[in-house]
Structure formats: structure tokens, C-alpha cells
């Protein structure tokens, strides 16, 4: 096993930089509130894995979306559990981001040089909310339709460009199949990519700047 890994490492050079990362010292006196960020990542991983599983059976079309949710829920083996995990992980993810933000504020860990990391964290929160909003429509039922109707109508209130912006978000004047495919694309492609990039920035800065000491 060792020799096999040596051959791999001779090409990929993962050992040395990761050794430095893994063996870095951690400040004394950290408590379990410092795990909230890691727990948010855990729930994001659950979201990504269950989301990939759901995407195998989900059909993002006006006629098929609702039916495919029923199939996932009632016919696919453990489909109801995967769907439930995805839904609850979204709530837990947002709770953990809020708790992590409170912890960072209380310990004043946003002070220089970490102010950019605070901003990146805020953007992560925004992307998480946007993911939750776009994901809500995908069930394509009464509740999803009307919640999205209200949510997207908020954009219309912007003076001068509101109507155009709302049309751009919905893909049509009303919520329709075009809105569904648009939201599906944003939910499974654009936002996870944004989230991945933001998380990479967040963890990169934590790695480089270290964990802030307690007050």
C-alpha cells in the first residue's frame, strides 16, 4: 500500500503540502461551537449527495415534475428518505450557517486579516438562501407555485427595471414550465458552482490565516 501511494505521490505531490496543512497547530481553548462551520460543510455534502440521487429520477418539465416527485416519494426504494434528508439538510445547513456566524461574531474572529473571509461567509449564506428558494419550486405543487409567485413578484417592485428583471427570472410573464427549467438549472448547476467556489475561498483563507484565537 505504501509503495503504491509513493508511486501516486511521485506524480501528484499531495503528501508534502497536506502534511503542512494537517500538522498545523490549533489554538488552545477551542470549544464545540467551533464545529458549526464544519457541520455546515457536513450538511452541504449531504445536500450534494442526496441532490445527485434525486436528480436521477426527477424530471424538470411542467408536465412531469409533480409526477416524478410522487414516483420518488412512493415508488422508488428509500426515495422518501433521500427526499426527506435533502429537505431537512437544507434547514440544518442554514441553521448551522447562522450559528457559525454568531460564533464568529461573538469571538470577534472577523477582525483583520479575516474581514474578507467574513464577507465570503455572508455571500455563502446568500447563495444558500437562493438555493433554498430555487429548490422550493422544483416540487411543482400548489405550495411551491404560490411561494415562488410571491418571491419572484418581489423583484417586480424595483422601479423602472422591475418588470424586465422579473421576466428574466421567470422566463415568462407568469410562473410556467420555463420558470421550472430555469430554476432547476440555477439550483443544480449555477448555485452549487458558486457555493463550491465560495467554500474553497472560505477554507483556503482559514487554512492560510489559521483559526482565530478566543477572546
Amino acid at each position: 500500500m505504501g509503495k503504491l501511494f509513493d508511486r501516486f505521490d511521485a506524480r501528484f505531490h499531495v503528501r508534502r503540502p497536506h502534511k503542512r496543512f494537517l500538522q498545523r497547530r490549533i489554538p488552545e481553548g477551542l470549544n464545540y461551537t467551533y464545529c458549526f462551520g464544519g457541520l455546515a460543510l457536513t450538511f452541504f455534502i449531504v445536500l450534494a449527495v442526496t441532490g445527485l440521487m434525486l436528480s436521477v429520477y426527477y424530471i424538470p418539465s411542467e408536465k412531469e415534475a409533480y409526477r416524478s416527485i410522487l414516483v420518488i416519494n412512493d415508488e422508488i426504494f428509500l426515495g422518501w428518505l433521500v427526499r426527506s434528508l435533502h429537505k431537512w439538510a437544507a434547514s440544518f445547513f442554514i441553521v448551522m450557517i447562522i450559528l457559525h456566524t454568531i460564533r464568529v461574531f461573538v469571538t470577534r474572529s472577523y477582525r483583520p486579516p479575516r474581514e474578507l473571509n467574513w464577507i465570503v461567509g455572508c455571500c455563502t449564506f446568500l447563495v444558500a438562501m437562493a438555493s433554498a428558494f430555487t429548490g422550493y419550486l422544483l416540487t411543482w405543487d400548489q405550495r411551491a407555485y404560490w411561494a415562488t409567485e410571491v418571491g419572484t413578484a418581489m423583484i417586480q417592485t424595483i422601479p423602472l427595471i422591475g418588470d424586465h428583471l422579473m421576466y428574466a427570472v421567470r422566463g415568462s410573464a407568469e410562473i410556467s414550465g420555463k420558470t421550472l427549467i430555469r430554476f432547476y438549472s440555477i439550483h443544480v448547476l449555477f448555485l452549487p458552482l458558486c457555493m463550491g467556489f465560495l467554500m474553497w475561498m472560505h477554507f483556503h483563507m482559514v487554512k492560510r490565516q489559521g483559526i482565530a484565537r478566543r477572546l
Binding site: F21, L22, Q23, R24, R25, I26, E28, Y32, Y34, C35, G38, L39, T42, F43, V46, I69, L70, L81, R83, S84, L85, K87, W88, A89, A90, S91, F92, I94, F105, R108, Y110, R111, P112, R114, E115, W118, I119, C122, L126, M129, A132, F133, Y136, T139, W140, D141, Q142, R143, A144, Y145, W146, A147, V150, G151, A153, M154, I155, T157, I158, P159
Partner: protein, 139 residues
């Protein structure tokens, strides 16, 4: 976190691996178990198929309750304030906390801003829950 050093042994500085990583993985495992239990006990129901002829009261997920509640206070032409200005100012204030906490009384100002933002979120969320649970309370 728990100090695992035995008495009489020289104290070793904690490293990310294995000390911190083991603790965070333990926390992650416990959190996942909790998620699994909640997901099994309360699976989401499948809603009704879309029927535009029927009236329906829009209901968002709990993390949007606060925004739905704020919208109620800005009807008609003032909706722009509740729908765009309020969330925008809210988010900008949150983002600029590191810059508010600067100079004399910086921490005090940041505390006022941060706890006010949290209070608004919790307050409007609770109001929304009350409104949905007991609609007569607000009529």
C-alpha cells in the same frame, strides 16, 4: 474541547490532525445521526397538484418567514421597501460588520448592529409563525 492529556505527561500543542479533525468528525457524525432521525420521523409530504382555479395561501420555508412577514407592512407602492430595500440594507449591514467594528466604540456599534439584525430575523419569524398558527390574533 476536552483535554485528553494524561496527568504528569508533558502537554503537547494540539494539531489539526489527529486532535481537531477527530473531534470535528465526531461532531459531524452525531449531527448526521440527528439529521437521519429527524428525516425518518418527519418526512416531507407531497403537496397538491397545481390548480390555478383554487385559492391558495402562499407559505414559504421557515427561513423566509421573516421576509414574508416584512412584506405585509409595505403594501402597494411601498412594497419596494419591504421587498428590496429592507433585505438589501439587512444584508449590507451584515456584510460590513468588520468595518463597523473599527475605531473608538467600534465593537459597541458592531454589537448593536449584529444583535439588532438577529433580533429582527427572530422577531419577524416568530410573528409569522403566530400569524399562521392563530390568524384571528392579528385580525
Amino acid at each position: 474541547m476536552a483535554d485528553l492529556q494524561t496527568d504528569g505527561q508533558p502537554k503537547r500543542a494540539k494539531q489539526f490532525y489527529p486532535d481537531y479533525l477527530a473531534e470535528i468528525l465526531f461532531a459531524a457524525l452525531v449531527a448526521f445521526q440527528l439529521l437521519l432521525i429527524v428525516a425518518m420521523l418527519w418526512p416531507p409530504s407531497t403537496g397538491r397538484a397545481i390548480d390555478l382555479t383554487r385559492q391558495f395561501l402562499p407559505r414559504a420555508e421557515w427561513y423566509f418567514f421573516w421576509l414574508f412577514e416584512v412584506l405585509l407592512y409595505f403594501p402597494g407602492k411601498s412594497a419596494f421597501i419591504g421587498a428590496v430595500v429592507f433585505p438589501l440594507v439587512y444584508f449590507m449591514l451584515l456584510m460590513f460588520i468588520p468595518f463597523i467594528d473599527q475605531g473608538r466604540n467600534g465593537r459597541f456599534k458592531a454589537k448593536i448592529v449584529a444583535w439588532s439584525l438577529l433580533f429582527l430575523f427572530v422577531f419577524f419569524t416568530i410573528l409569522r409563525v403566530l400569524r399562521d398558527t392563530w390568524p384571528n390574533l392579528f385580525s
